[in-house]
Symmetry: D2
Subunit: 352 residues, 4 copies
């Protein structure tokens, strides 16, 4: 494939294309009207076509997989990194400076490199780059993203948690203390790794909590809620593994302040997201379901009065691989490159 400027499409590289997030990036970008995938890396699968690794993508005209050290960086406009953490910091540091980067790992999400070191078990390897990274929760940081070179795409659980909580905390409608986030995720969140806990036999017909009080998305959520609250916030966060492939449902328990009732919260969120293409606050009484966002970039939010006076229950649903990863990454690319924000992301959920 000779890489010529025969059209105005953005030249795209995807690092780490052999994981589920990489495949989802390909699915979305291959049909994106203003993008052209010209580089795909995957160390262990180098030399193969992507169709050999992901047969469902075999019909797309795509470059073969190469090792990252064999990558031809010339002419690239945007690089998506879907690499394991730590690896990413080194790789990103070496990407030519004229290319925009959307990093889907956790490596640049935490502004405080000490917090990173604590949760990820090693010193941050690119602290200077960290300072320039913009947190990629599109609806909250849109203007910063538009001006950024390096965007740290948020985690799946964090997107589902932060989209409803940030406006409610920032608006003074709920207290920042005592928030309980009970989150449920499909198995694709665990990646395509050959681990016992991800086997069909182990996952199907069963549910369980994991990483209780110790999941790495907790500090990320707390970082953003602290910004919204203007002071340090600590949350209760419990992830659960569900017998399904895609989807996150976050059931969030909050205490209202200043005499607010649940409908006030719902109205405030609806107003906040009224013009957003991908965040939708449901009518009163309607509960989000992950089946309604499967494969789409939508996030649905519902708000309910609790029976306990002064408390409310907020439920959000998204597809962890789309709005929780690849979809939001493409959304961020659109913002970074001045394209219409929803370009390439219009497709509805696949149901049933």
């Amino acid at each position: 494939m000779t890489r010529t400027r025969h059209d105005a499409r953005l030249k795209i590289g995807i690092l780490g294309a052999s994981g589920y997030t990489g495949a989802e990036l390909v699915r979305l970008l291959a049909r994106h009207p203003a993008a052209e995938i010209v580089l795909l890396t995957a160390d262990r699968q180098a030399g193969k076509t992507l169709g050999e690794v992901f047969p469902h993508l075999a019909r797309l005209p795509l470059p073969d997989l190469v090792r990252i050290e064999d990558a031809d960086w010339r002419g690239l406009d945007v690089v998506f990194c879907a690499l394991p953490h730590a690896t990413t910091q080194q790789v990103v540091a070496g990407i030519p400076k004229d290319m925009k980067i959307v990093d889907l790992s956790a490596d640049f999400r935490l502004r405080d490199v000490a917090t990173y070191a604590k949760w990820y078990g090693h010193e941050h390897l690119a602290p200077d780059l960290q300072k320039s990274a913009v947190y990629g929760l599109t609806e909250i940081y849109r203007d910063d993203i538009a001006a950024a070179r390096l965007v740290a795409n948020p985690g799946c659980y964090t997107t589902a948690s932060e989209l409803p909580l940030i406006p409610l905390i920032a608006g003074g409608l709920i207290g920042a203390d005592g928030i309980v986030i009970d989150a449920k995720s499909g198995v694709s969140g665990a990646g395509r790794s050959e681990k016992l806990g991800n086997l069909h036999t182990e996952v199907s017909e069963g549910i369980s909590a994991y990483a209780i009080a110790g999941h790495r998305h907790a500090p990320e959520i707390e970082q953003e809620l602290s910004v919204a609250a203007g002071r340090p916030v600590i949350v209760t966060f419990t992830p659960h593994l569900m017998p399904m492939n895609r989807g996150i449902l976050a059931t969030i328990y909050v205490t209202m302040t200043n005499g607010a009732v649940a409908e006030d919260l719902r109205i405030a969120l609806a107003a906040r997201y009224e013009n957003e293409p991908f965040v939708h606050v449901l009518p009163s009484g309607r509960a989000p379901a992950t089946r309604d966002v499967r494969g789409s970039n939508h996030c649905l939010i519902g708000v309910f009065a609790d029976r306990v006076p002064g408390r409310a229950i907020v439920v959000s649903a998204l597809d962890n691989l789309v709005k929780g990863a690849a979809g939001q990454a493409v959304q961020n690319m659109n913002v970074m490159c001045g394209l219409p924000e929803a370009m390439g992301l219009e497709q509805e959920a696949l149901f049933p």
Copy 2:
């Protein structure tokens, strides 16, 4: 089938045998060494064999299904009612006085008939019988159950919630206020009813919350936690529908009191249930999973420190059709009839 006292086995009737709970009662009682099923009712399926309605039970020697008004009550020792609510109250009122009854509906669980009327939409039809009913959470009310004629078998969500919470509240280790119960259930909890929301296409590959802040198991949980606390308690309770058939996982968020830490809670629960055959507190750091109780009468409990100081996360798992329904009902029968409590319930979980 001529019903003769050719052996000492208890003669059992099951009313409402064509639902999943009824089938599960048959599965357990048909192999119970001290029981013999002699009556099966199912109004809409009357005239059929149970094997026609549930082919997986076709190999068992069982009486045919009859309408409840055609039931031959003679010689019955124990009657299990697995009927819809309200119906149950009338039927139970008509059962001969010398028979013991385990009712699996919600009809006799709420001691306060006004609370019943509020949540179920009609006046209680057997308020006098209600007074004599014993709440059938075996591990808590064993002595009362042993002396009871009518036992109101607890709900599935309530069993999963009450087993860990009652000792913690009664023991003063946690506060009774602000408890959040985030519960996840398999689809069999919805019964064998032909409803849109129970179709495979609607359920699989998706999760959702339902009856938020309005589920009928909430007042039942509150009733028992209020007894434990010695004052009225109100809880936050959110049920979720999971893409699996069996199992409930309850993730419970509590505030500790009197300087307790999570390990204190775990140790207290472990001590409380040390000699129980069916309630098991896991070692520190181990999380319960519904796959480990599927088809069994076990309830597993794990306790975890929250990252929020002073708070803990308690997780319980059980099979909604067994410990959450038919299994506990048989356990109660064993207690009521002076049999070994685990008789007929020894089977391990089916995994994978």
Copy 3:
């Protein structure tokens, strides 16, 4: 919605929009660059928005659901019928003559109305229309479809069976006798009907054959294979219900003729479908999987030598709601209306 010719897009009506096939038509046509949905009917759901019936489609600008007798037919270009059989014949007969029709029911698939009457239990209600109907297996009848007013969209099992078999029979590579089609389908093929057999509890964790030797797609398959063979053909066809939502896999057992070997079959099919956008013959040794076509209009075909000399095994996979229903219907509309055949159908499979 005022229906004005403000653009050149085809005005589309969908009759029976509240079923899964109807929803899939909406999903595809709402993003089709040359189509605009202006009429949606659904008798039992009339008065609702489509978003109330299918929340995953709530973000689309769509007309509300109306009863079929309240439909405003003015200005429609193409009507898709996703109605139950028999109903369709009457409705189609009443559609204004200047509109093109793609019928997704079985009502016009069988050319012989006597065969229809035998399998569907009643006389054909529009035998004259039947004569003008074109069988809508796009890759086989493309030219006829281009000239047709009424296209009878093939069944899901039949598409999966006919695409590999017709060229092999017509090419004299396999015998038309003794063909065994063992087909496996997801639950969405049963529609959105509230039937016991479609409940999650009944379907998940289990498989079964149904309508053995009596499924209505058998005569449809036989009709087309008879055309290919030039004489009457009878097939062995067994459908199975799978614990998944979407997808059909047909495992087809054939006897080769004229000394052909399996690779001859594979090469012949590959040549036949070389330029087709949606039918793909896999490299030697690669087996199709339904996960690789989920949500897409692709049909994958693999061919394998049997260990029994002279016999081969052909495997095909497609999404029953897309290439097996709504996708092929849109493909046919494109052909009928002179549009690029793949327009609106380019999306890749959703995996995982």
Copy 4:
């Protein structure tokens, strides 16, 4: 655990207890009235309790896992081998001669060691022992099994295929040529191995054929059908992977001989298995489903007329881990040791 002859129960060793088959043996044998598990080996998990490897079995009193070379063989009555092939041959050769052995691997199933070498890629390591091994299809070889020291437990697909086919071939009701076995299996048949193809994300919502015309159970089926036919038989056999954990459904296409019709086949099979506790021929028109045997040792068989004259469709269903592995192994142990054949295997299927 001091191993004393304090009771008359058979002392049982299970080699390879950390796989699904091993766990299933434990589940069944731990409740077997005449058995006591005294040895569990698992090389990679040695030193752990079985409950650490399989939490669902943590409530059972069991010996810890040891390496096979650390096994204490003294006093063992019966050894179950659930080891990978080849390994088994060496291990079995070293087991003390006074112990009975049920081998669940493929190592002693093929009487012809040359056929073994061809399909398994290496010379048989215990050809002398092979001569003394009895093929453990209980209903067919019961008398030989009763006298055997070493029983080769059949494969899961083979049990599902041979139970219906052997009597039909032996009885001259069907031809031995042209038999097509289209088999569908749950994922547990692939074991607890951490392979990409067994991940939930890869398996759920999808089906595929694998090892087409090359599965190792084919020669085993052919061996037994050849015995029944009295001459060499070759079959068409295609296994498929299903998105469920347990269960095999075999759809078998046969040609009838001597003027037989399908009902003749059904009646012959029903007569053949009339007194069998675990093989059940369904009434005319009823199709077996794997959900009806899940967790049980039952095998269900249905027979249907094909629409093609002279041909019939036979469908069988069993649980691959029970009648297809551990259950039949226990059944064989019962026969070998003179116990009631159904002892410890009475439990009904778990549904839903």
